[in-house]
């Protein structure tokens, strides 16, 4: 005998067995509520599984992107390293148009391969202007770039210009040296200290190895000097 056990609230079963229509309506309402509850329960179950999975996926994605970027950066650096030559204790000798010798030195000089006359990145660069003169001028900085084609040496970060003659030292943040003319100039504030006194200005330019120097103020920031009374 094949007994079919029907659940208590099957749609097709009419428990009322002929009860009044009001009770039939109530039971249909109850059945609908149950169906809604079941649907919601399924959604909640689904969400409980889907949300942690999506969080995991997102985390994996982020880690993956970070790792890829790191790898690409390393690749690029290696590429740059492979594509450039690094000289240690580099020395560049030259002469300006007036025949005055200059020497550019650096702890390291890195040049892109294939760009023979291209810019050279310098670490701890030094410059001597007028090496063949009794009082050459010495300039040094933390970093610099020397462009052999234009002859321009750009220095930045803690630039110090020691003028040989009177023991005056200028300190500034940037300096641009045109090695063809020997002009040293800078557009950032400059401070100078020497036996004679001190000076400060907003920008400066040193011509003919110090034979002529121009300091400029800007607005209310005048050029200021204190000259010690001998």
């Amino acid at each position: 005998m094949n007994d079919v056990i029907r659940p208590a609230f099957d749609d097709s079963f009419d428990p009322s067995g002929g009860l009044s229509s009001e009770r039939a309506a109530e039971s249909r309402k109850a059945a609908a509520a149950v169906r809604q509850w079941r649907r919601r329960a399924r959604i909640v179950r689904l969400a409980r599984r889907a949300l942690p999975l999506s969080i995991g996926l997102i985390v994996l994605l982020l880690v993956g992107v970070a790792a890829m970027r790191t790898f690409q950066a390393a690749q690029a650096e290696n590429e740059a390293q492979r594509a450039s030559a690094t000289l240690v204790n580099a020395r560049f000798y030259g002469q300006d148009r007036q025949g005055r010798a200059f020497l550019i030195g650096a702890a390291t000089a890195r040049q892109m391969l294939g760009a023979v006359q291209g810019p050279v990145a310098l670490e701890q660069p030094t410059l001597e202007i007028g090496r063949d003169q009794p009082d050459p001028t010495r300039v040094r900085a933390d970093r610099g770039v020397y462009d052999q084609r234009t002859g321009i040496l750009t220095l930045h970060d803690d630039v110090r210009i020691n003028e040989g003659g009177q023991g005056f030292e200028f300190r500034t943040q940037t300096a641009v040296v045109d090695t063809r003319t020997g002009v040293v100039s800078g557009r950032s504030p400059v401070e100078g200290q020497g036996p004679m006194g001190s000076i400060s200005a907003s920008s400066y330019a040193i011509y003919d190895q110090g034979a002529r120097i121009v300091f400029r103020g800007s607005g209310d920031n005048k050029v200021r000097a204190t000259i010690n009374d001998p």
């Binding site: 001028t137 003659g165 005056f168 040293v184 120097i213 400029r216 005048k222 000259i227 009374d229």
Partner: protein, 159 residues
């Protein structure tokens, strides 16, 4: 220096040009020089150093040595302050200070005021060391004349 008391000289201007061969600093644009109680202002102030030009050409040469002569040009305004005295103000077109003689010579339309007293002329020579001042006359119809207005101090009558 511009003051008998000496001491460091503070200079300021919009621009400064140092020419080593001539041993000169050219301060231009609202130029001013201050020393002790004295202050000088002008459009341009040229400060000449001892031994100008004997250097080898390294930068900063013109910034060394000590000032032997100062020339101020254009709207020269010189204020001298001394204890217990009203400020002495001198205006002119040009002023030259010479260290060896410690004198300042102001020329052009010279006006010297101290308190309410006024003295005008064409050339004023002030010796910092002795404090002696000589004013030369300005050209007028009646010849070169010095003009002055002095207000006697009203001292209370003692009985």
């Amino acid at each position: 220096q511009i003051s008998g008391s000496g001491g460091p000289i503070m200079m300021g201007a919009d621009n400064l040009e140092v020419i080593d061969a001539e041993g000169v600093q050219i301060w231009s644009g609202r130029a001013e020089a201050t020393q002790g109680n004295n202050r000088m202002r002008a459009n341009v102030i040229r400060a000449y150093h001892a031994g100008g030009g004997n250097r080898s050409g390294a930068p900063g040469g013109g910034l060394s040595g000590d000032i032997v002569r100062m020339v101020a040009e254009g709207d020269v305004y010189f204020v001298s302050r001394s204890e217990g005295q009203p400020d002495q103000v001198i205006r002119g077109d040009q002023a030259v200070y010479t260290r060896d003689t410690d004198t300042i010579v102001v020329t052009g339309q010279v006006i010297m005021t101290q308190g309410e007293n006024v003295l005008t002329g064409s050339r004023l020579t002030v010796n910092n060391t002795t404090g002696r001042a000589v004013m030369d006359g300005a050209p007028t119809e009646a010849g070169r004349r010095v003009r002055g207005v002095f207000y006697p101090e009203n001292r209370p009558q003692t009985r």
